[in-house]
């Protein structure tokens, strides 16, 4: 049976009918069609599906869609646009923190949350926060440098 779900994604309001069993990741990707949120494992262990739900970091494959009722979601598509990139998006490109790009959306949102809360993180803070975002291409060193550079500028 389908249930109605109202939520805001990247400042746009959506009213949808969703299966109770569907995760927020499925709602975002399949229901709304925003595929920047990735699916690397479906069991909360890779971090590629990371989004911000009412400002909190969540792995969207671990949250049911209906749990987002009335809430507001930020996905990678809402972080910045090609014309108005977020400073982290620019820094990731400048510092070479993007290889295949599959982990990038999740990593960027995690980094954004970190800087929102702690504009001046140490490398330890970054390591502690990014530990849930796996990257097989191994961009960790460059991502650290990118995040530190944004922190320094602000």
């Amino acid at each position: 049976m389908k249930y109605s779900l109202s939520l805001t994604v990247n400042d746009e309001q959506y009213n949808l009918l969703v299966e109770a069993s569907h995760t927020l990741m499925e709602v975002i990707r399949d229901g709304i069609g925003l595929t920047g949120t990735k699916c690397g494992c479906e069991d909360g262990r890779c971090g590629t599906c990371t989004v911000l739900l009412d400002g909190e970091l969540v792995k969207s494959c671990l949250v049911l869609g209906l749990q987002a009722q009335g809430k507001s979601v930020l996905t990678i598509e809402g972080l910045g646009t090609p014309d108005h990139l977020h400073p982290l998006q620019i820094a990731f490109l400048e510092h070479g923190a993007v290889q295949c790009g599959f982990c990038t959306p999740g990593m960027l949102l995690t980094a954004k949350k970190l800087l929102d809360e702690n504009p001046n993180p140490t490398e330890e803070d970054i390591r502690h926060t990014l530990v849930g975002n796996l990257c097989r291409c191994g961009v960790y060193t460059h991502a650290t440098r990118a995040i530190l550079s944004v922190a320094r500028k602000s």
Binding site: G36, G40, I76, C100, L134, R136
Partner: protein
């Protein structure tokens, strides 16, 4: 203005940071449905019957297929030993048996569960050393002799029935080498090594979308390493002429060797045909682990003859590649793994026997370094042991035995662009080799380790590139080289920019699509900068030749007096005399004027031939395209109570001939270090006694997180540039050499810290504690 040699932002970067990049799993087509694969729960069994009736009745199911729905052909690159869907036998846990397409992935999964398969379980064989016997307890492929094979095995009296590859190197008098060592006070050192059971673990699981056109043309979207290998595989599996198959490569979320074949694409296609709808198949993480490219282990036995002062006299190696149920994507590993041995050191005698065997496990696959990362574990640990045995510094010992430029190696091929000295020297300097680590105190012990590596790039191979010149001074590059994350699109674009003397923004890229982009062999074997780079330069030259030709009458001079740059075709001796690119295209056909140029379209194919691999001697003048070199060093800290290893500092010095994009090289260096650290220290696929993988998720199979990496200021990337005479601008590839020395560098550092060796990768805490405790019992100390 030069773009080659600088580091512009990657040209596919904006899409990637904004979430706009479309990967295969993101594709949605009208009326598209979803496929799931029914797999074997047993490691070895006869299939007695498959009953699909209940599955077909599940509401929402649109198609069910088994082997009966497919052409009766075996697949496999050099040994055709595998069916897309099992016929009468399954040989590993996870082998595809049937598939379902349904309105949702959940329904398809449910229908797979509703299928009944009756098996007669057969005894399974997992141990490679048992498998290689002349009378093994189990024979996996009774019909092996009937299989189509495109490669010759080394001669032998009788082939062990589970053997699928045999390769030898024969050089010099190996017995004499051992005699000399013995007679003249030298050393004979014999050890056995094993590499770990690791997995590619791309963050993007394998996926495919298949759609049939009304004319019977199949289009498959699949994020793989080679659209043309994919096209040929689909054509064979489905019995279609190649021209009826179109493969489009969307963004790829990492490959590392794990995305060469497109079995799920062929399954999606067969389902789509039966369901008359587009079908998408996306593998789950568990399917990724249990059924796609694993770097299965090698077992190496090495026996070295060394003079008393550390000169290598001879090396004898027996290696067994622990293959799985099929030759799979590891089909050339027993051969290519041997390329490492002659690549760095002078070996008056080299004697190698290398075998690949079948066992009832997942097929051995490709993973960055294709055999060389494995042989380096054995060879470079052995070099460390030799140094310590002869009381010579490990760097000095290596230097003493290095080849020199132009010298014939133990497989005949001369060493060229031989940069091992420079890589080793710079790497040693950066890690402050010779300065002992500061000791933090028990239970932590620190040490440093270094290792050298080389990585061949295979041949024969070819790449074609097209370049279309647009009237608005824009240059369109059409290539089937795939960007898997390594930055190929950016590097190739940089080349086009320089060849036409324009800014990089003036280059447009058409990404791999077999309907549009020309042949390129594969995004593998570190070959794209080298081969596709050369093809790109030639295609640009072809285009500028046409531009000069077309401009000559307008400028009233011979074409060879003209040059092209920055959107102008100008007289070399008087650049003020020029026309613009747009002037070449003045088309006023309707006014009766002949256009200067209708189409300017540069085309080129770059081909590298090779001397054939002689499976009995391994000798050849030119058996590969080129050989790259690199050295890595690490400082580690080992806790002897918990067995934990922390990498404190890591240096990677690799020779790329010419750094086309220095930041890209650094990304390979650090990315390789990251993967290499995982492979060396903790990655390990585990199996139960029934051959089932027991850690098929990302928590239990642990790839490195940011925590496993040294802090960012302790990572150092060193670029060495010793140009290769055939490389574009002298360049060589960087993609694989960056993981070749990693495991031995770390293993040697662990030895330096605690004074004990571990012979089998990975260097897990349990093994470290165990060897440490054994050493304590024997009364040693660090």
């Amino acid at each position: 203005m030069k773009v080659v040699g600088t580091s512009p932002k990657r040209i596919d970067g904006i899409e990637k940071v904004t979430g706009a990049a479309q990967y295969t799993g993101d594709i949605v087509l009208p009326r598209m449905i979803f496929g799931k694969i029914k797999r074997s729960p047993l490691a070895h069994a006869k299939i007695l019957s498959i009953d699909t009736r209940k599955a077909e009745q599940v509401p929402g199911v649109r198609a069910v297929i088994t082997a009966a729905d497919l052409p009766d052909v075996r697949l496999g690159v050099l040994t055709r030993d595998e069916y897309l869907l099992a016929h009468d036998t399954v040989r590993f846990v996870g082998e595809p048996i049937a598939a379902v397409a349904a309105d949702t992935p959940e329904i398809a999964r449910e229908a797979c569960e509703q299928m009944t398969v009756e098996y007669e379980e057969l005894p399974a064989l997992f141990d490679p050393e048992e498998a290689i016997a002349l009378d093994p307890p189990v024979v996996l492929h009774e019909d092996y002799e009937e299989y189509e094979r495109l490669i010759e095995l080394a001669e032998m009296d009788k082939r062990p029935p589970n053997l699928w590859q045999a390769y030898r190197i024969r050089h010099g008098d190996i017995d004499a080498a051992f005699h000399t060592a013995e007679a003249e006070g030298g050393f004979i050192l014999e050890n056995r090594y094993m590499t770990g059971y690791v997995h590619t673990t791309c963050m993007e699981p394998r996926a495919a979308v298949a759609q049939w056109g009304p004319d019977g043309t199949l289009t498959v979207w699949a994020g793989g390493q080679s659209p043309y290998i994919a096209r040929d595989g689909l054509s064979r599996a489905l019995g279609l002429p190649p021209s009826k198959v179109r493969v489009i490569v969307p963004f790829v979320g990492g490959a590392f060797g794990g995305k060469l074949t497109v079995h799920e694409g062929a399954i999606a296609a067969a389902l789509a045909k039966k369901a008359r709808r587009p079908v998408k198949v996306v593998l789950t993480r568990e399917e990724e682990f249990t059924t796609t490219s694993a770097r299965t282990p090698f077992i190496f036995s090495i026996k070295d003859a060394v003079s008393h002062d550390g000169v290598l006299l001879g090396r004898k190696i027996l290696s067994i590649f622990w293959g799985g149920a099929y030759s799979g994507e590891g089909f050339l590993k027993p051969i290519f793994s041997t390329h490492l041995y002659p690549g760095s050191y002078r070996l008056p005698a080299l004697w190698v026997d290398s075998y690949g065997v079948y066992t009832n496990r997942i097929a051995g696959g490709a993973l960055r370094g294709y055999g060389c990362a494995e042989s380096a574990w054995a060879v470079e640990t052995q070099m460390d042991i030799i140094a310590r045995t002869c009381h010579i510094d490990p760097v000095a010992l290596r230097m003493k035995n290095l080849l020199t430029e132009g010298e014939r190696t133990a497989i005949t091929m001369p060493a060229h662009a031989f940069s091992a000295h420079e890589c080793l020297t710079k790497c040693a300097e950066a890690i402050e080799w010779g300065t002992p680590s500061e000791q933090p105190g028990h239970p932590w012990y620190r040490g440093k380790g270094i290792a050298l590596g080389n990585k061949y790039s295979f041949a024969p191979t070819a790449a074609s590139v097209d370049v279309k010149v647009h009237e608005d001074n824009t240059y369109e590059l059409r290539t089937s080289a795939v960007d898997l994350g390594q930055g190929a699109y950016t590097v190739l674009t940089q080349i086009v920019a320089d060849e036409f003397g324009v800014e990089i923004e003036r280059v447009k890229l058409v990404t791999p699509d077999t309907a549009i982009t020309p042949f390129d062999h594969v995004a593998g074997s570190s070959r794209q900068t080298f081969h596709t780079g050369n093809a790109t330069r030639l295609a640009c030259a072809d285009a500028t030749r046409q531009m000069r030709q077309e401009a000559a009458p307008q400028l009233g001079v011979d074409p060879d007096k003209l040059d092209v740059s920055g959107g102008r075709i100008f007289v070399k001796e008087n650049p003020a005399r020029f026309i613009e690119v747009g002037d070449l295209f003045v088309v006023e056909m309707l006014a009766g004027k002949r256009p200067a140029a209708v189409e300017i379209f540069g085309k080129a194919t770059w081909e590298v031939s090779a001397s054939p691999h002689d499976p009995n001697t391994g000798q050849g003048e030119h058996p590969m395209a080129y050989m790259g070199h690199g050295a890595q060093a690490a400082e580690v800290e080992v806790n002897v109570e918990t067995g934990q290893v922390r990498v404190l500092k890591f240096v990677s010095a690799i020779d790329v001939g010419k750094a086309m994009n220095p930041q890209g090289v650094e990304m390979q260096n650090f990315g390789g270090a990251c993967m290499g650290i995982g492979i060396a220290l903790h990655e390990e696929m585990c199996f139960d006694e029934k051959g089932r993988m027991t850690n098929s998720n990302l928590e239990a199979y642990k790839i490195p997180t940011i925590i496993e990496m040294p802090r960012s200021e302790s990572m150092q990337s060193i670029i060495v540039e010793v140009p290769h005479q055939q490389g574009p601008y002298g360049a060589k590839g960087a993609g694989e050499i960056v993981v070749v020395p990693t495991s031995p560098a770390l293993g040697n550092a662990v030895y330096d810290a605690i004074g004990v060796r571990i012979w089998d990768l990975p260097l897990t805490p349990e093994k470290i504690v165990k060897v440490w405790q054994a050493k304590q019992r024997e009364g040693g100390s660090a």
